[in-house]
């Protein structure tokens, strides 16, 4: 009798352990899946942000890349939604805003941080709807004092670029604002007596990473307060150089996205972080044309050579074409844009 009692007790322990084991495995799988989905979404979003570039330009050489944050967040959310079999509707996209605690798009001469702003476009008068949008571009600024020494309270500001020696100088003395710019550190020293440091590139990267991490952490704290999530759990740290554990600093245009409290991915809440920054391909324009009197759009190179069409004009994005009353040409849009 007493032995049976012990046996039942052991059986109970075993069931509890099995249950925990299943839960741990499930959690591991779901977080792997979420991180794969977020990585792909970040990569896609970064690709969509590239405004222009040359064919064959590599990630190593991103000096002259122009990045436009317009479609980045939307693309991120679309790919994430597709990965989780959600319909792409305005509601889904807005719902996904709740999980993105912070997003940073670092470009050569500054960075954007995603902020919650009131959506005026679709305001129906029933109160503000908040959506995630990119804020103003913030420069990588170091402050100096009168003798050209770095000083957090100095009144001379120099904005640097991540990859080139470009600089913008600002000084406020009294009510006048002095502004100057140049493209080499030598000029900066000659004109204003400021030199970043013995290792200017390292100092600028360190400052840029410090600025970005401070801002990300501020945004995360604010968002956590808003959703009553507790404390420093989502603290992000960016080193100023590659660490021995292999964490990379932000030294080139990249996109950082942090997700927290993700509850659509499984029974438990998950978190995910991803940084993207990838090879650049060329940007293809959109052609607006008329076929049989109907207005259509397609990308450059997609229209067959002998197609009976009349070309109206060119656009940079398909959104612009759609707003001008052109419809997607379902057949041509599936053709290759350019031979690879």
């Amino acid at each position: 009798m007493i032995y049976n009692f012990f046996a039942v007790l052991f059986l109970f322990f075993m069931l509890v352990t099995l249950h925990n084991d299943i839960k741990a495995n499930e959690r591991l799988f779901q977080s792997l899946r979420l991180s794969a989905a977020v990585d792909y979404a970040t990569e896609g979003a970064f690709l969509m942000s590239l405004e222009t570039g040359d064919l064959g330009l590599s990630y190593q050489d991103m000096r002259n890349v122009i990045i436009n944050p317009d479609n980045t967040l939307e693309t991120f959310k679309y790919i994430l939604a597709l990965s989780y079999d959600m319909g792409i509707s305005r509601e889904t996209i807005r719902m996904l805003d709740n999980y993105i605690t912070s997003a940073v798009l670092a470009v050569n001469d500054g960075y954007y941080i995603a902020e919650l702003v009131e959506d005026k476009e679709n305001h129906d008068g029933s109160g503000g709807i908040y959506v995630l949008k990119w804020g103003l571009k913030k420069p990588y600024v170091i402050r100096y004092n009168d003798s050209g020494q770095e000083d957090p309270n100095g009144h001379r500001y120099v904005a640097y670029s991540l990859v080139s020696q470009d600089w913008v100088y600002m000084e406020q003395s009294g009510n006048t604002l002095i502004q100057d710019s140049g493209d080499s550190f030598f000029q900066l020293r000659e004109k204003w007596g400021i030199f970043p440091s013995r290792e200017p590139r390292e100092r600028i990267l360190a400052k840029a990473n410090e600025l970005i991490s401070n801002d990300i952490n501020f945004v995360i704290q604010e968002r956590n307060k808003m959703y009553d999530r507790i404390g420093n759990r989502d603290f992000v740290y960016l080193p100023s150089s590659v660490t021995s554990s292999g964490i990379n600093e932000v030294s080139r245009p990249s996109l950082l996205v942090t997700l927290a409290g993700v509850d659509f991915a499984g029974p438990e809440k998950l978190e995910a972080h991803s940084v993207g920054g990838f090879t650049i391909a060329d940007k293809v324009r959109v052609i607006a044309f008329r076929e049989n009197g109907q207005k259509y759009y397609a990308y450059e190179g997609q229209i067959p050579p002998n197609a009976p069409i009349v070309i109206d004009r060119f656009f940079n994005t398909i959104d612009e074409a759609a707003l001008q009353g052109y419809h997607p040409h379902v057949q041509y849009l599936a053709n290759p844009k350019r031979s690879r």
Binding site: L11, F29, L47, I79, Y84, T317, P328, K337
Partner: protein
């Protein structure tokens, strides 16, 4: 009374020594299978988004890889092209349209989506259903990536 106790002991021994380890092992292997399938999907997506084409070999590779993990899976690959239309208020509205990919070169910005659907009933599921009447439901998951 003693006899009843003996019967209970035998039943408990059977549960603890035979049924429990089998269930445990089945559930564990199923979890590992899921991770292997995810790995196959990631490999496939990396390859085709790099190349920009989906060939018959790529698909065979994916089907074989996914089904050699032990489960019975239905695999579906789709290619979506981004299109923009304007809605009734004049705002741009983005839609993704599924288009054929056989023998086509995909463009930068197209999205490839792989969906894996567990159509078979795995041993773990069958056992859990027979013993405990627990059904975790259909396991189905997708992953999508953008052509680079």
């Amino acid at each position: 009374m003693d006899f009843v106790n003996k019967i209970v002991t035998v039943v408990l021994t059977f549960i603890m020594l035979v049924i429990a380890p089998i269930t445990w092992e089945y559930v564990r292997s199923e979890m590992i299978t899921e991770r292997l399938v995810l790995n196959e999907m990631v490999q496939f997506l990396d390859r085709v988004t790099d190349k920009g084409t989906i060939t018959a070999e790529d698909l065979d590779d994916l089907y074989l890889g996914v089904n050699s993990t032990g489960g019975t899976y239905d695999v579906e690959v789709k290619r979506y092209v981004r299109m923009s239309t304007s809605d009734e208020f004049g705002n741009p509205r983005t839609i993704y349209l599924s288009v054929p990919y056989e023998g086509e070169t995909m463009n930068l910005g197209d999205i490839v989506k792989v969906t894996v659907d567990d159509v078979g009933r795995s041993p773990a599921k069958r056992l859990l259903w027979t013993l405990l009447r627990v059904d975790a439901g259909e396991s189905r998951f997708s992953l999508s990536a953008m052509v680079r």
